[in-house]
């Protein structure tokens, strides 16, 4: 019984992981397109031929999506930064407990960000707030996109917490597989 529950949980967890990876692909692709757009806009502005008039605004909207949509992926490959000086020194059970507390607090923090971002988007929707440039984008749209990103982080974090509680070895296996599939990534 416990096994089939664990299997279902891992199944949902795996599904969410695949969603995170897909969202991270979108992030990376968006950043690439954004670079081409900014470069074209600067060149166009210089030659007087083409200029969107809202480079900074569009860049900001794209970045908020690229950043928040990759947050859950970064969790699945275990790349969110922790100070691990003491973690290496404690015994395995203590380490598991500290990992679990870290995930619990991450879920709370991500939830806090998600709820308040949805609040921000709803407020903007209520007062029909528009972006200041000539584009006049309803701010609720990019703010909703950001809120969705934080929500996936919160959901991913909550699922990871559940798996860490009920099936710790399953989590270790899933993490190892994701990290192995991920390209090498450098810190600052």
């Amino acid at each position: 019984m416990a096994n089939s529950n664990g299997g279902a949980l891992l199944g949902v967890f795996g599904l969410f992981e695949r969603l995170s990876v897909a969202m991270a692909y979108i992030s990376g692709a968006l950043l690439t397109l954004l670079s081409f757009f900014i470069a074209a806009d600067v060149l166009g502005r210089g030659s007087g031929k083409f200029y969107s008039g809202a480079t900074d605004e569009i860049s900001g909207f794209v970045m908020t999506m690229a950043v928040t949509w990759a947050l859950a992926y970064t969790l699945t490959i275990d790349k969110h930064v922790r100070v691990d000086l003491l973690l290496g020194l404690v015994s395995a059970p203590v380490r598991r407990l500290l990992d679990w507390i870290a995930l619990l607090l991450l879920t709370l923090f991500a939830g806090l960000l998600a709820i308040n971002s949805w609040g921000l988007a709803l407020d903007s929707y209520d007062i029909h707030a528009l972006s200041p440039s000539i584009l006049q984008v309803p701010l609720a749209i990019p703010q909703g996109v950001m809120a969705f990103g934080f929500s996936t982080l919160a959901a991913q974090s909550f699922l990871t917490l559940l798996v860490a509680t009920f099936d710790p070895s399953g989590l270790a296996r899933a993490r190892a597989a994701e990290s192995k599939a991920a390209p090498v990534q450098y810190d600052v």
Partner: protein, 435 residues
């Protein structure tokens, strides 16, 4: 009181291994719940919004992306061997190519870890085959790699610039001269070590002039990118963000010319840049939430007034901050160290009239020192991993070799830092001369 509580909360949360961003965000929330006079829930919505839509900060993911494309573009192939052909005759031989290759790679990469890993990956097998001293080789790569964040472009300068609201372009130009000065100091150190003990750097067969001149072609793509990124900033054509966008286009162009674009290459580039961007920006979101709450509680102003009441000079305060960073840097993760402390120091620095561009260079040099100072420093671990790979299973070389090898470089970095502190013009003349 709130200051002591902040220190206590952050120490406990960081020590427990709570995610850095979460520690700052929830630490700030705890503080404001105890000491604030009203709730501030809504900042958890609009602070992330303002952070992730800041045009200045867009430079960060774009420079990360540029680096990821370049890593897979074949741009560094040939660079190391060309530099070694030119620098081999100097006392210290190939060790100089480590530093020069790091400095050159730093001109197109904003990351210290990527620089150490890329150049280390090419040079370590080479040095091993010629019987170079393992310790000096590893030490020079650990230290040389840190040039990645001092020589522009640099991820740390962007983060610092956004925290103190200073122009990223100016900071980049300010890092340029100290960066090459430090590279030169490393090379002098290597020459001195080699003259004292020639066995650390055995002679390698010399190259012909023809070989040297032909090799220069492999440096052209890097010079092209440097001109594209730094040239446009220096001449005032582009902001740092726009220069980063040019850099990404240039990097893709090089990858196309070298026939490196493929579905796998794009897949890896997209995922790695998204992952690194999210990792850094998540920390920044936590840092800005904390910065907002601290300002709301008036804590930095309080600390600033307290320090000023002690009638310390500007120099004394800067030296005290340096000392604090050198101590923190031995055990703390470097990025977290900067983002948690700068918001607290900022009002104090402003009140004392400290030049924030110059101070930015000082901070980045302190981060470099933190990256190489044992026992915890990112590049130490990167070189350790590279050496382990090279040695093969069962023959793990001790990390203490790297600790010993990096020490002379550590002191050289401190010396360069002292020079920049004593003569701020080393950093400031280039941004002063730009448009």
């Amino acid at each position: 009181m709130a200051g002591i509580a902040l220190l206590g909360i952050l120490t406990v949360l960081f020590g427990m291994g709570i995610y850095v961003s979460v520690a700052m965000g929830l630490g700030g929330l705890t503080l404001v719940t105890i000491f604030g006079d009203r709730p501030v829930w809504d900042i958890f919505g609009y602070v992330p919004w303002n952070t992730t839509t800041s045009f200045t900060l867009v430079a960060l993911p774009l420079f990360v992306l540029m680096g990821e494309v370049l890593l897979r573009s074949g741009v560094t192939e040939g660079m190391y061997s060309t530099l070694s052909k030119w620098l081999n005759p100097l006392p210290g031989g190939l060790l100089h190519s480590n530093i020069a290759a790091c400095a050159m790679f730093a001109c197109i990469s904003g990351s210290s870890a990527a620089t150490a890993a890329t150049i280390g990956g090419v040079s370590l097998p080479f040095l091993k085959s010629y019987g170079y001293s393992d310790r000096v080789a590893a030490g020079s790569l650990v230290a040389g790699g840190t040039l990645g964040i001092l020589i522009p472009p640099s991820i740390v300068f962007i983060i610092y610039g956004v925290l103190v609201e200073e122009s990223i372009g100016k900071l980049y130009l300010a890092g340029f001269v100290p960066g090459f000065m430090m590279a030169f100091a490393f090379m002098v150190l290597i020459a001195l070590q080699a003259i004292r003990k020639p066995s650390i750097a055995p002679k390698v067969p010399p190259s012909t002039w023809r070989e040297r001149l032909v090799g220069l072609g492999s440096l052209l793509p890097i010079l092209f990118l440097m001109a594209l990124v730094l040239g446009t900033i220096y001449t005032g054509v582009a902001t740092a963000t726009e220069a980063a966008a040019f850099g990404v286009c240039g990097a893709f162009l090089i990858a196309i010319v070298n026939r490196r674009i493929s579905a796998t290459m794009l897949r890896e580039t997209f995922l790695a840049s998204a992952g690194t961007t999210a990792m850094i920006l998540f920390i920044l979101i936590g840092a800005f939430v904390l910065q907002f709450i601290l300002a709301f509680l008036g804590l930095p102003a309080l600390i600033s007034n307290w320090v000023i009441s002690m009638q310390l000079t500007q120099m004394q305060v800067v030296l005290m901050i340096c000392l604090l960073y050198i101590v923190l840097g031995t055990f703390m993760e470097e990025l977290s160290m900067v983002v948690t402390t700068i918001p607290i120091f900022l009002p104090m620095l402003k009140a004392l009239g400290v030049d924030l561009v110059w101070f930015g260079v000082v901070v980045v040099m302190l981060v470099q020192i933190a990256i190489v100072s044992p026992p915890v420093g990112m590049n130490l671990f990167i070189l350790h991993a590279l050496r382990r790979q090279l040695a093969g299973p069962g023959k793990e070389p001790p990390i203490s070799d790297i600790f010993i090898g990096v020490m002379p470089f550590f002191f050289t970095m401190i010396l360069t830092l002292v020079l920049v502190i004593m003569f701020p013009q080393i950093a400031l003349w280039l941004p002063g001369s730009a448009k």
